[in-house]
């Protein structure tokens, strides 16, 4: 079964500009997983997502997505990039932004059909934004925009969802609601979520991996204090070892 896992990574090394960003990463993500990926800034979390998307060539090792190359599997993958600094006054409606997620199915020069429009409406519905379809994207709140971008990742009807810091820009009072949405989506698809919000991650995801050049992962929510400290390269205080697995930032 390993061969057709959503993500299967063996001995992955990635070097960028002469610097080793990922070192000997091994990872199996199974169908239905909700994997939270934590780690310090610059630790390689985004790089790992890009390798899974096939946007970076490994220096060494193998990345398989649904048993095939990342490029070939791209149609089955939905992607939410790290909050992009788009022009808040860009003249585009929420619906048009969601439609962009159909690109993988249409390709260059492909024209949108009623089917694409229906898919976009369903994706908006899935994130609870259907009444905002015709609003200009810049007129929505940060959290609403983030929902629109989740819809854009969903509109290609993916089997694997890659989310890079999806909670950015969302009001803390709305965070729970947002993570519930992701948990609902997880019933239909495998999700890998990069985040630095360790406590939130540990509450909602099924498994946790820690990335800092190397990947620390046992296929569960359990990571030892030593592993997290090694990953973060600084002392990390852990409280309430068990469920939910909570970690605090460095202490002095």
């Amino acid at each position: 079964m390993t061969g057709t896992n959503p993500v299967s990574i063996e001995n992955l090394w990635v070097r960028l500009d002469g610097r080793t960003v990922l070192e000997d990463v091994n990872l199996e993500v199974r169908e239905g997983d909700f994997l939270g990926m934590i780690g310090p800034n610059g630790g390689g979390k985004t790089t790992l997502l890009k390798a899974i998307l096939g946007l970076l060539k490994p220096s060494h090792g193998k990345v398989r997505v649904f048993g095939t190359s990342p490029e070939a599997a791209r149609k089955r993958v939905g992607y939410l990039p790290q909050k992009s600094l788009f022009d808040q006054r860009f003249p585009v409606s929420a619906l048009e932004v969601v439609m962009m997620g159909r690109y993988g199915r249409k390709g260059l020069l492909g024209r949108y059909t009623p089917e694409d429009r229906d898919a976009a409406s369903s994706a908006l519905e899935a994130v609870g934004m259907e009444e905002h379809a015709d609003r200009e994207i810049g007129g929505l709140s940060g959290g609403q925009q983030q929902r629109i971008f989740v819809a854009r990742a969903l509109v290609s009807e993916p089997d694997l969802l890659l989310l890079d810091e999806p909670a950015t820009g969302i009001d803390s009072s709305r965070l729970g609601e947002f993570y519930e949405l992701l948990r609902d989506l997880n019933e239909k698809m495998t999700i890998i979520m990069v985040s630095h919000d360790i406590s939130a991650v540990s509450t909602y995801v099924k498994k946790i991996a820690c990335v800092n050049r190397k990947l620390y992962y046992h296929g569960s929510k359990e990571l030892t204090a030593e592993e997290i400290e090694e990953a973060y390269q600084c002392p990390v205080e852990m409280i309430a070892h068990g469920v939910p697995h909570r970690v605090l930032r460095e202490h002095d």
């Binding site: 998307l53 946007l55 585009v92 962009m100």
Partner: protein
Amino acid sequence: MIEIFAYEFMQRALIAGIIASILCGVIGIYVILNRIVFIGGGIAHTAFGGIGLGYLLGRDPLIFAVLFSVAAALGIGAISDKSKVSEDTAIGVFWAAGMSLGIVFVSLSRGYAPDLFDYLFGNILAVSWNDVLLISVLTLAMLVLVALLYKDLLILSFDSSYGEAVGLPVRELRLLLLCMVALSVVVLIKIVGIILVIALLTIPGAIGRQHARSLTRIMALSILLGASFVLVGLVASYLLNIPSGATIILAAAGTFFASTILSR
């Protein structure tokens, strides 16, 4: 006022101006959204090298302007993409080198270049039927390209890093957009001149953006605005005997300032 359009040169000027407005309205908003206004300036000034070469060889300068401006678009695009030279540095180098080449070629031709000033500041009254034909063909080609690539250009302009992630050929599409800007610049040289090109390319779109919320509406509004600026500029140019490029741009800039103040 109607009677001044009884002259054939005025009719040609009006037709050329309206076609150019259509082109500016459609391409201009992409220039604004992709923040490539100054790449447009660099491309336009590089085209002067082609104008000069045309003089030197005794051929139609606009044909060489096409070659130079497309080369500038690809050059600036490739340099800022692949090398460590930043985009504005590349623009500056092409800008100055193109102008210098133009001056060298014109000097070498030793001939009298009576309409050189027209290429720099535009003279819509000197537009020939051949020019109208060239402008129409280029505009039609641009419109077809935009219609075919509308969805792809929207992704490129809105969020190119997302485009890259979903497999959009971002680099190629961007170079294509720069080439489209280059060809638009050539169309506009006859009308407002090299130095004023970026104004006509961007002002209608900039005003349109203040008043319309969707891309297609901004395009429609920009076309109407552009055509009005050309009309007003033409009449003012005729009545006051001032070069048309300047009157058209001043009509546009005046409207832009008024619109900016009113829409605050």
